[in-house]
């Protein structure tokens, strides 16, 4: 179908996107790499010489580094666990016959469309506030002392807020995957008297495995980068300083660009480990 002329035309059509993305990737990344080898404090004397790998060493040996890695892993892992588990259950439920299915779907998907700053602030103030939040009213109505969510249970709070935002996404994708399941196979299993749990384990779950992988892939990309939810709630205090937030603080708040850039390079490497691992899966899907 493709002639030589159409092929060069095709290359021309593709060029702007490729060039722009290449520039978007290479130019800032190169600059970050250069800064990472400098002692560079824009507000305190600017460029103060080349320091080799000093920033890299200082970044990982600073007392804030490991806690931030830990916070990142707990938040990403926690949210993935909650959204994937509940997402599977919810998708199975929504696949059942019921009245008003379309309306329920709309209710379930809605949190995904709430901008991160709004969900962060609404949860922080109207639900998790220890004096006036709805959850503290609830706790008091049972005679219990309200939890001071964002300081005493800071990680759980962040995980809850972010999970609320991402559960719709997981549910919707898994629901789409379930709907493509051959219902005759399920019926046959049902008639053979296979119990619910074994039907779930041997038919539904294997069918969903690809969709689950995709959900984990995409959510990890977005979750590693969560920022606004922390920015408007804890500002990184009470152990919620993720790697992303730590680098942000180094670069923009304390204006230590060299140190922050070294952190940025670590973040890029970390993300690329996931990317390589996960890209292979998407690549395989592309061949089907």
């Amino acid at each position: 179908m493709s002639t030589k002329a159409s092929r060069s035309a095709a290359r021309l059509m593709l060029a702007p996107a490729v060039i722009l993305l290449l520039g978007w990737m290479l130019v800032p990344l190169t600059l970050t790499l250069i800064f990472s080898f400098q002692r560079y404090l824009p507000l305190r004397g600017g460029f103060q010489g080349w320091v080799g790998f000093e920033n890299y060493v200082r970044f990982v040996t600073s007392s804030a580094f490991w806690p931030s890695v830990q916070a990142t892993v707990i938040i990403v892992g926690g949210v993935l666990l909650i959204t994937v588990t509940l997402g599977i259950l919810l998708a199975i439920l929504l696949d059942q016959p019921m009245w008003g299915q379309g309306m329920v779907r709309i209710l379930v998907i809605a949190p995904f469309f709430v901008m991160p700053t709004v969900s962060g602030l609404v949860w922080k103030n109207m639900f998790m506030d220890p004096n006036n939040g709805l959850l503290s009213h609830l706790w008091r109505s049972f005679g219990a002392d309200p939890i001071i969510w964002l300081s005493d249970a800071s990680m759980l709070s962040i995980i809850l807020i972010v999970s609320w935002q991402w559960l719709p996404f997981a549910t919707l994708i898994l629901l789409t995957a379930i709907q493509s399941l051959d219902s005759e196979q399920l019926e046959a299993a049902e008639m053979d008297g296979a119990p619910v749990l074994s039907r779930f384990w041997h038919i539904i779950l294997p069918h969903l495995s690809r969709a689950i992988t995709i959900v984990i892939l995409i959510q990890t990309i977005f979750l590693l980068a969560i920022f606004a939810e922390i920015f408007v709630t804890t500002q990184g205090s009470f152990g919620t300083r993720t790697l992303t937030y730590l680098i942000f603080q180094r670069v923009l708040e304390s204006q230590n660009v060299g140190l922050g850039s070294a952190g940025g390079i670590y973040a890029v490497i970390l993300a690329n480990i996931f990317a390589l691992f996960l890209m292979r899966i998407v690549g395989k899907n592309l061949d089907r």
Partner: protein, 276 residues
């Protein structure tokens, strides 16, 4: 297909699903309700549910005090602009990869996806610096370009999966009937591509509207969109729940409505066509 279900079973499903649905929707519902209360009612314990004097006062105060309409306008320009700009670049790219695939197409697609995985914070300072140098800091055009670039991979992927489904035989048939390239694009391909393009536009507007890393870090007063407007409520000043709710309701309402229309396309767009 026709699984026989008892009425009891269906009723039970309905009940559980509605309870969960309402539970997940509740924070949004509560925000909307609170936006019509007075500040005292907003923090009342026990909470006031539906029976209060509904007031529009909060909306008026929010608009007056913080000039909501300017932030709204910034959001519209930035989300709309980045989408239009992105589509101009993404449509030809996706088109060429779908209809004139080469043996490198797959690699290019995957590479594009990988640029989406670049952590924003890793390039925060260089972008910040470039923005200062070019005078783009706190401008709508600067933010429009950045949001276009971060969503470009998703746009290309989504369009690619749609275009890929247009069968090549149709083109050949049209050519046999004597259609030239112009007719081919205008009368055969465009009508088939429009649903995919529309879905991509919709999803991209939603993503750009809600983006909250670059919009918070690259704007101050002039170009700040609604994400930054809401973030300015993070330091409370006395009683402010009702006003926060009014501001939040206004910020999410347009997208909530668009989102309800686009929920089916969302799956395809955000899974890069891998789940159907």
């Amino acid at each position: 297909m026709a699984r026989s279900v008892t009425i009891q079973r269906k009723s039970l499903n309905t009940l559980i699903a509605w309870i969960i649905g309402l539970l997940l929707f509740f924070p949004i519902l509560w925000t909307i309700l609170t936006s019509f209360k007075t500040e005292a009612q907003a923090i009342a314990d026990p909470p006031v549910w539906f029976f209060f004097d509904w007031t529009l006062e909060n909306y008026r105060v929010v608009q007056e005090r913080s000039n909501y309409s300017r932030f709204l306008w910034n959001s519209i320009i930035i989300a709309g602009g980045s989408t239009i700009l992105g589509m101009i670049i993404a449509i030809p790219a996706a088109w060429s990869m779908a209809f004139v695939p080469s043996n490198r197409t797959k690699d290019i697609l995957l590479w594009m996806l990988s640029t989406k995985m670049l952590p924003a914070v890793g390039v925060l300072y260089p972008i910040y610096l470039i923005f200062i140098q070019l005078g783009l800091l706190d401008t709508r055009i600067g933010l429009t370009i950045v949001l276009m670039l971060i969503n470009l991979p998703i746009m290309v992927w989504m369009l690619y999966t749609y275009f890929k489904e247009i069968p090549g035989e149709i083109l050949e048939a049209a050519r046999m009937d004597g259609a030239g390239l112009k007719e081919e694009i205008l009368y055969v391909l465009t009508p088939m591509a429009i649903p995919g393009i529309a879905s991509t536009v919709l999803l991209n507007i939603i993503l750009a509207w809600n983006e909250a890393f670059w919009t918070l870090n690259l704007t101050a007063a002039r170009a700040a969109p609604l994400t930054a407007f809401i973030a300015s409520y993070s330091s409370p000043e006395g009683l402010f729940y009702a006003k926060l709710s009014a501001a939040s309701t206004m910020a999410i309402a347009p997208i909530l409505i668009l989102g309800w229309f686009s929920q089916k396309q969302l799956v395809r767009g955000l899974t890069f066509g891998a789940v159907k």
